[in-house]
C-alpha cells in the first residue's frame, strides 16, 4: 500500500501575477511576474531549481507547445522541463509533477508554473476549438457555459427546486465571491454586485446569466517546492505541506451511460474520497478550514458543495443561502474571489488556488486573512478543479496544511 504524498513535500515559495485583462502583457511577462515573487518568497537563487513543469491549456492561443516558452522567458539553466495539460486542472497538474519529483528524490527543488494568456483571442469567453476529429462529427458545438448550465436544469428537476429558487442561491454564490474579491488587490473583478443584478443580467446559456460566469482572465501563478528539511535549512519556520494530490478523470460513463443523472460531477466525489484518505481526513466538514473550488459557473460551485461532501445531497441551496460558505461562514469558499472574480487563466488556476491557501495558512492574506475556527488562523485548506465539462472531465482535489513542527 502506497504511503501517499502527505507531508513529504512543502512549499518553499509562491507567486501569483495580477489577474485580469492584461492587454499589455504577454505570457512571458505574466510568468516573470509570478516567478519573481516566488523566488523572493523562497529566498533562493534561480539556479537552485533543478526541474520545472509548465501548465498551459490553450497553447494554440498563446505560448505554443512545449515548456520552452517558460525556459526561454525565465532563462532557467537548461534544467529538465515538461509542459503539462489537463484541462482546467492544468495548474494543479504542474504542481503534481513538481511535488512528485521532489517526493521521489529525483530533485531537491522543483518549480511548478501555470500560465494562460486568453485575452489575445479577439472575443469574450473562451476560444473555440476542436473536440476531436470523431467528436466534432457528433457532439454539439457547445460552449463552456452551455455545458455547465445543464447541471442547473437537471438539479432543479431532480431535487424539486423551482428555477427562481435555484437561481437565487446561484446569485448568492456570485455576490459572495464579488464581495470577497473587493479585498484582493490581484483579483480581476473587484466590484460589489447585488443578487438582483445577477438575476437581471444578460442571458448566456439558460439558466446562466453573464454574472453567473467566471472571469476570462490572463495570469500566471507558480510554486517552488522542496523537502521539509531543505525548507528549514532556508530558514523557514511555518511550513505548508502537500497533504493530498488526487485526480479522477471521466471514463465515459457521464457521456454514454444512463447511470449518471446529470445533476452532479461524477468524478469529484471520487477524487475527494481519495484525497481525504491520503490526508487522513475523516470528516471534511469539521477538518477543513477553507476551500477553493472550481466555480467556473455559479451552479458548478453549488453542486460541488455536495460533491465534496460539505453539503448533503439536494441541500446545497439551503446551505448557500444560510451563508455557510460566506467569508464569515463555517467553511469559507473562494475567499480570494475564486475563478468568478480572481479570474480564470486556465493553466494558472490550480496554482492560484494553492497560492491563496498558502497565504491564508501562513497568515499572509492581508485584508482577507481568515481567523479560522480556533481564532489562530486556518490550518488546512482544500483546492478543487474540474477540467472539461460535466459530461467528460478531470477532477482534482488537493489538500494543503500547516506541517506540524
Amino acid at each position: 500500500m502506497a504511503s501517499g504524498i502527505k507531508d513529504k513535500v512543502v512549499i518553499a515559495g509562491m507567486g501569483c501575477s495580477r489577474f485580469g485583462e492584461r492587454w499589455s502583457s504577454g505570457p512571458d511577462d505574466l510568468m516573470i511576474e509570478a516567478f519573481t515573487e516566488a523566488l523572493a518568497d523562497a529566498g533562493i537563487e534561480r539556479d537552485r531549481i533543478e526541474a520545472a513543469w509548465l501548465g498551459v491549456f490553450f497553447d494554440e492561443q498563446s505560448t505554443g507547445k512545449s515548456p520552452l516558452p517558460m525556459s526561454m522567458a525565465l532563462k532557467l539553466p537548461n534544467v529538465p522541463m515538461t509542459r503539462v495539460e489537463n484541462l482546467c486542472a492544468t495548474g494543479t497538474e504542474a504542481l503534481r509533477g513538481a511535488v512528485y519529483a521532489v517526493a521521489a528524490g529525483a530533485c531537491d527543488i522543483a518549480l511548478a508554473m501555470g500560465v494562460e494568456k486568453l485575452k489575445d483571442t479577439g472575443f469574450s469567453g473562451l476560444p473555440e476549438r476542436t473536440k476531436g476529429t470523431f467528436e466534432d462529427l457528433y457532439l454539439p458545438s457547445s460552449t463552456a457555459p452551455g455545458a455547465f448550465a445543464q447541471l442547473a436544469s437537471a438539479y432543479a428537476a431532480r431535487y424539486g427546486y423551482s428555477m427562481p429558487e435555484l437561481k437565487k442561491a446561484m446569485a448568492h454564490i456570485s455576490c459572495k465571491s464579488h464581495e470577497n474579491a473587493t479585498r484582493n488587490p490581484k483579483a480581476h473583478l473587484r466590484n460589489r454586485i447585488t443578487e438582483q443584478q445577477v438575476l437581471d443580467a444578460q442571458a448566456i446559456s439558460y439558466p446562466l446569466g453573464v454574472l453567473d460566469c467566471c472571469g476570462v482572465s490572463d495570469g500566471a501563478a507558480c510554486a517552488i517546492v522542496t523537502t521539509p528539511a531543505i525548507a528549514r535549512s532556508l530558514g523557514k519556520r511555518d511550513l505548508v505541506s502537500i497533504q493530498a494530490l488526487q485526480l479522477a478523470p471521466s471514463n465515459g460513463v457521464e457521456m454514454g451511460h444512463q447511470s449518471w443523472d446529470g445533476t452532479h460531477t461524477l468524478t469529484t466525489p471520487i477524487a475527494a474520497a481519495r484525497a481525504y484518505a491520503e490526508a487522513g481526513i475523516r470528516d471534511p466538514r469539521s477538518a477543513i478550514d477553507l476551500i477553493e473550488v472550481h466555480d467556473c459557473f455559479s451552479i458548478t460551485e453549488l453542486v460541488l458543495m455536495e460533491d465534496l461532501g460539505f453539503s448533503d445531497l439536494g441541500k446545497a441551496p439551503h446551505d448557500v443561502m444560510e451563508g455557510r460558505y460566506d467569508r464569515d461562514g463555517a467553511i469559507p469558499c473562494q475567499i480570494d474571489g475564486g475563478l468568478k472574480c480572481f479570474g480564470h487563466p486556465i493553466g494558472a488556476t490550480g496554482l492560484r488556488m494553492a497560492y491563496e491557501i498558502y497565504l491564508q495558512l501562513l497568515g499572509r492574506a492581508g485584508d482577507r486573512q481568515l481567523r479560522g475556527r480556533s481564532g489562530r488562523g486556518p490550518s488546512i485548506g482544500l483546492t478543487h478543479n474540474l477540467g472539461g465539462i460535466p459530461n467528460r472531465n478531470v477532477a482534482s482535489v488537493s489538500i494543503l496544511g500547516l506541517l506540524a513542527a
Binding site: G146, A203, S205, S259
Partner: protein, 432 residues
C-alpha cells in the same frame, strides 16, 4: 427531408420499418437541388436509412419531372425489385420574387414493388412526353430560377401538353375522364381549374392542402400531391397524377384496400408546423442575408474524411453498440463497454438508435454558441433502451424544452464547412 420522408414511408409500410427496409432492393433520390454535384446523395440517404450497401442507388435530377420520372422507372421494373423512390427539393428564391411566395420545401417517398394485397395503389398506365418548353430554368452554378410569363406558359404549354398526355394515358388504360376521381396536378388553383376543364377532369377532386401549406416543392410536389390524393381516396378510386417540367409525366393509378390503413405521413408532416414570424430570420436561415454571427462562427468545420468513413455507421447510420455481455446500449459503440459494472472488451454489436425514443435528462439554451437560428439548444438525452448522448435539440424555441420531455431523432445538417464547400450531417433530437 429525404431521409425523414423515407423513414415515414417505411414506418407506414406493412410490417414496419425493419421489414420494409430489409426487403428493399433499390432507392432513387430525385431532386433538382441535391446537396452534392458529385457525391452520391442516394448512397448518403441509404446510409442514413441504415440500408445494406448492396441496395442499388440512383440519382435523378435536372427537371421537375425527376420525382415522377423516378416513380415511373421504378414501376416499370420487370425484375420484381422493391424500390424506394424519394423526391426532395429545397429551392432558393430571391427576396421579393413571386417564387418566394409560392415555393416551399418538401420531400415525399414511395415504396414501389410487385403487387400484393397490402398495396395502397396499383398503376394502370404511365406516359411521358418531353418538350423543350422553357417555362423556367436554372443553370448550373446559379442559385435562383428564372421564370417566364405565366400566361404564356399556361396557354402554350400546360393547356396543350397536359390534356394531350392525359387523353393518351386514359385511352391506353381504356378509361374515360369521368372515371377519374382524383387529379393530382402540380399547378395553382386557377390554372389547375382551366387544365382540368380542358382535360374533362373537372369532376375529379383536386386537394390543395399541400400547395396552400407547404407550397410548390419542385420535384417533390407531384409525389406530395399523389400522397394527398391517396389520403383522401377510397379503394377502387382512380387517381391521375401529373408531373410537369420540359414535358409532362402522367400516371393512372387505382387506390387499393391499403389506403384504408391510412397513409398519414403527409398529414402528420403538415400538422407538425412551426411559424417563423421574422422575415429577416427566414432570409438569414436560407443564407439570403449576410448576418454577423460573430467570431465563433469562424470555427473551422473541416471534416476528417477518414474518420467520417471509419465511423460512418455511428455518424450517418446513428448506430450505437449493444454489449452482448451486459446488454448495455451505448453511443458511440466502443471497444470496451461503458457500463462501469461490465467494461467487457469487444462484446458490442451495432445497435441503431435512430428509431428509438429519448428522454431529456439535462438541457440548456445557449445564446453564446454559434447557431443559425439562436438559441443553440442541446442536452443529455437518455435513450429508451439505455445509453446517453449529449446532442443538439432542433425545431425548438427558447422556453419550450423541459427536463423529462420525450424526444425522437431526426437526420439533419450538422455543420457547413464554408471554407471547403462541404456539408456534414448527424442526428438531432426533436419533440415528437
Amino acid at each position: 427531408m429525404a431521409v425523414e420522408a423515407s423513414r415515414a414511408c417505411l414506418e407506414g409500410a406493412p410490417g414496419g420499418t425493419a421489414s420494409a427496409a430489409a426487403a428493399l432492393d433499390a432507392i432513387a433520390f430525385c431532386s433538382t437541388t441535391a446537396p452534392f454535384a458529385d457525391r452520391d446523395d442516394a448512397v448518403l440517404a441509404s446510409a442514413a436509412l441504415d440500408l445494406p450497401e448492396t441496395v442499388e442507388t440512383q440519382n435523378l435530377g435536372a427537371s421537375l419531372r425527376a420525382g415522377t420520372g423516378g416513380l415511373i422507372s421504378a414501376l416499370h421494373r420487370s425484375d420484381g425489385a422493391r424500390s424506394l423512390v424519394i423526391a426532395s427539393d429545397a429551392r432558393l428564391t430571391l427576396a421579393g420574387s413571386p417564387q418566394e411566395m409560392t415555393y416551399g420545401d418538401g420531400a415525399s417517398a414511395f415504396l414501389v414493388g410487385p403487387k400484393d394485397d397490402t398495396a395502397l395503389a396499383t398503376v394502370l398506365a404511365t406516359r411521358r412526353i418531353g418538350s423543350d418548353f422553357v417555362d423556367h430554368y436554372r443553370m448550373q452554378n446559379h442559385d435562383f430560377d428564372y421564370a417566364l410569363e405565366e400566361r404564356w406558359v399556361r396557354d402554350e404549354s400546360l393547356l396543350q401538353l397536359v390534356p394531350q398526355t392525359t387523353a393518351a394515358l386514359l385511352a391506353a388504360a381504356g378509361c374515360r375522364p369521368g372515371d377519374v376521381r382524383h387529379f393530382a396536378l402540380p399547378a395553382g388553383t386557377a390554372t389547375a381549374k382551366r387544365i382540368a376543364q380542358v382535360c374533362g377532369l373537372e369532376e375529379a377532386r383536386r386537394d390543395e392542402r399541400v400547395l396552400a401549406e407547404c407550397g410548390d416543392a419542385g420535384a417533390a410536389l407531384p409525389l406530395l400531391l399523389l400522397e394527398e390524393a391517396l389520403e383522401a381516396a377510397e379503394p377502387g378510386d382512380l387517381i391521375l397524377a401529373v408531373g410537369i417540367g420540359q414535358g409532362v409525366d402522367a400516371l393512372l393509378l387505382r387506390a387499393e384496400s391499403g389506403v384504408r390503413r391510412g397513409p398519414a405521413a403527409l398529414g402528420r408532416a403538415l400538422a407538425h408546423r412551426r411559424d417563423e414570424p421574422s422575415y429577416v430570420r427566414y432570409l438569414s436561415h436560407r443564407g439570403l442575408l449576410r448576418v454577423d454571427f460573430g467570431m465563433r462562427a469562424e470555427r473551422d468545420q473541416r471534416t476528417a474524411q477518414s474518420v467520417a468513413f471509419r465511423k460512418r455507421g455511428a455518424i450517418t447510420g446513428f448506430q450505437g453498440g449493444r454489449c452482448s455481455r451486459c446488454g448495455t446500449v451505448q453511443f458511440p459503440q466502443a471497444r470496451v463497454c461503458v457500463n462501469p459494472e461490465c467494461r467487457a472488451t469487444d462484446t458490442q454489436s451495432p445497435h441503431r438508435l435512430a428509431d428509438s425514443r429519448g428522454r431529456v435528462k439535462t438541457f440548456t439554451e445557449d445564446w453564446q454558441a454559434y447557431a443559425a437560428r439562436p438559441p443553440y439548444v442541446y442536452g443529455n438525452i437518455e435513450f429508451a433502451e439505455g445509453g446517453n448522448l449529449l446532442m443538439e435539440v432542433t425545431d425548438i424555441d427558447a422556453g419550450e424544452l423541459q427536463v423529462d420531455d420525450a424526444v425522437r431523432f431526426v437526420f439533419r445538417i450538422k455543420d457547413d464547412d464554408r471554407a471547403r464547400g462541404f456539408r456534414r450531417y448527424f442526428w438531432k433530437a426533436t419533440k415528437p
